[in-house]
Symmetry: C2
Subunit: 440 residues, 2 copies
Amino acid sequence: MTRPVSERNGGSGLKKYVEMSKEELSALKKELEKQYEETRAKGLKLDMSRGKPSTEQLNLCMNMLDVLHGEAEMISESGVDCRNYGLLDGIHEARRLLGEISEVDPDNIIIFGNSSLNVMFDTVARSMTHGIMGNTPWCKLDKVKFLCPVPGYDRHFRITEFFGIEMINIPMYETGPDMDMVEEYVSKDPAVKGIWCVPKYSNPTGNSYSDRTVYRFAHLKPAAPDFRIYWDNAYSVHHLYDDRQDFVLEILAECEKAGNPDLPFKFTSTSKISFPGSGIAAVAASKANLDDFRKYMTVQTIGHDKVNQLRHVRFFKNLEGVHEHMRKHAEFLRPKFELVEDVLYNEIGDLGIGTWTKPRGGYFISFDSLPGCAKAIVGMAKDLGVVLTEAGATYPYGKDPQDSNIRIAPSNPPLKELEEAAKVFVLCVKLASVNKLLGE
Amino acid sequence: MTRPVSERNGGSGLKKYVEMSKEELSALKKELEKQYEETRAKGLKLDMSRGKPSTEQLNLCMNMLDVLHGEAEMISESGVDCRNYGLLDGIHEARRLLGEISEVDPDNIIIFGNSSLNVMFDTVARSMTHGIMGNTPWCKLDKVKFLCPVPGYDRHFRITEFFGIEMINIPMYETGPDMDMVEEYVSKDPAVKGIWCVPKYSNPTGNSYSDRTVYRFAHLKPAAPDFRIYWDNAYSVHHLYDDRQDFVLEILAECEKAGNPDLPFKFTSTSKISFPGSGIAAVAASKANLDDFRKYMTVQTIGHDKVNQLRHVRFFKNLEGVHEHMRKHAEFLRPKFELVEDVLYNEIGDLGIGTWTKPRGGYFISFDSLPGCAKAIVGMAKDLGVVLTEAGATYPYGKDPQDSNIRIAPSNPPLKELEEAAKVFVLCVKLASVNKLLGE
């Protein structure tokens, strides 16, 4: 039995809050409130809410803006002038590069515009109006449901909410979603049309799916012929360490082996590799699925930005170039994650008022407070000038049934600011926990 | 009474085919067939089908790839780092530049990705699933109709066809669509939700809407509250001449004056200003309409490519910069249009077997053959190695009721190839016309 992510421990050697008497808690509260007022007086303005790369990371990519010179360099491998119209699937060298990142053959990938989120939105939108591979358009069905591993990525949930799709919470463990529940829902309910997955360095837990989880995904027997796994491979090469990295089985190959080649849509983008918002996105899937994509793409656009595709290929060259670049990213990201983890460990490690994940990659740390405290913590932090991701955001409809999960995003602020923000955060966790235990 | 575009004349001084005897026609046919075989023997491979800028035009923009250097230059006017996430509406300086091109205030414009076609598709898709400004989603209506000025842009028609929207042909005149018909349909039928317009240097006729036409558009009294004018301002600054330019009244201002501020969606892009496929697109509309756009944009994407927006602003600087650039484009385009017009005029000007438009801007010449000849002409040209836009493409469902309209795209081939292609074209027009008149 795998423990849920939220049951992992820290360690600080102090007395647990739950073991304190009412008097001890009241005294503590007084002390914390003093610190709170002192902090507020500082008038801080800090942000730990957004999974944004830092300026230092962006600077690593500046040469990408300077790799294309002269007419001859604008021609793709296959002889296409990348400046002009055409090539719906993207240039071959970009399909190869993103294929390498996605661990699939270039023939199994289509390059899109600057945002994989946009491609996911469009994929759901098209399923609503036109259906998947000849199946009934979802807008004509009474009920469409998606499984949502929680905590998860708020923007996934907002897409399905926008289209009126019912979302079902599935607990996330260190090994991935609760596969017993997933199998149960997928095999029995034909209204279940999809599941949102961030298989590697998941948003927000940072956990990666185990081989067994991927195997079980590949062997699903969906009741709905148009059930698909929405496999958002957002952090595939986003390791924090050279010597400790997560590996996730390649879902397309596993599904193919299991006789389920059409099950997965695998999304990826360079948003957190090159420039967020100015990268390139891609979908890897079976030929039948990609042909289905092409049917609407050919009506929707003449083609995506091939000059930007070329720019990425010329800059990164190949997968090794990407890894080399991401190792430089990690040098900026690693100390930030370690700093936040240190502050959490030192300040509240053994207080029994919170647990958190220690990811080896990705962009987030997932924090779980005592039940019923997350909203209070985020509110207090805001009051002290530290913006956190809204409590509840990691759950469908913004509703965390436990009111305990908070997504921490350490990537963007400079180290000094991050340290200050993390200290404010633990102060708020302490105070909110004391208030909770005192029944206030 | 304005004459339909297709009734304009050329002039070559030869005997009209319709006035020829059967014997004369048969003799002519023999001669033309000889030329046809001689031409086929050449094994040509030419293309007059696509509205693509030429390599020379693309070369004018190469410096755009080299305008951004160093961190400091990546910061927008408002202090935003364009390399990172954010700014759903686009950077202010891009809104100003595209606002100038669109003749609207920066507040009335949102910058999108690389394709205005994509934005039009999304606008229709969202109307299907969510409706416009609180109105019933179109997918819940029995019938949705669009008015389609013909001949028109095939990709507009393919969007509405894709969503199962019924398309109604509206004749295009030199002054724009038949406004009597437009007013009749729009005011009486609540199922009519939109009209596709290319108001300036229209695709394919090259005609521009008269002041009176725009005025009548602005004063429409739609039966449907969610009727919108889909105003595709694709060729707003695409003049062929300095001294002979078309001007079109600004539709947002006219609609505002008429008390109909929410009627128009005005689309534009730099696809045929900078690089096709690597430009930036925009929508200008009322605040209420743009807020409605934002509601789905905020779910669909974190933002569009701001680095590319910045690149465009740094390169063009302002509207005068755009005009200066487009004058250089015109130097390449003008001789091509004039060459095709010369070949048509000299070869079939007075034969009574075809009429064509003589646009002052845009990317196309619209040719009308004798009824029932267009498919044969395009087929013959293909046989001789000259690719033309598919006959029928300028009509909804690909069905030209007269089988007479052919879109000629002179922009892309070098002059020498273009001359050869144009000569092949007139040969095919002659032979197809003779066949038709002989009843073959």
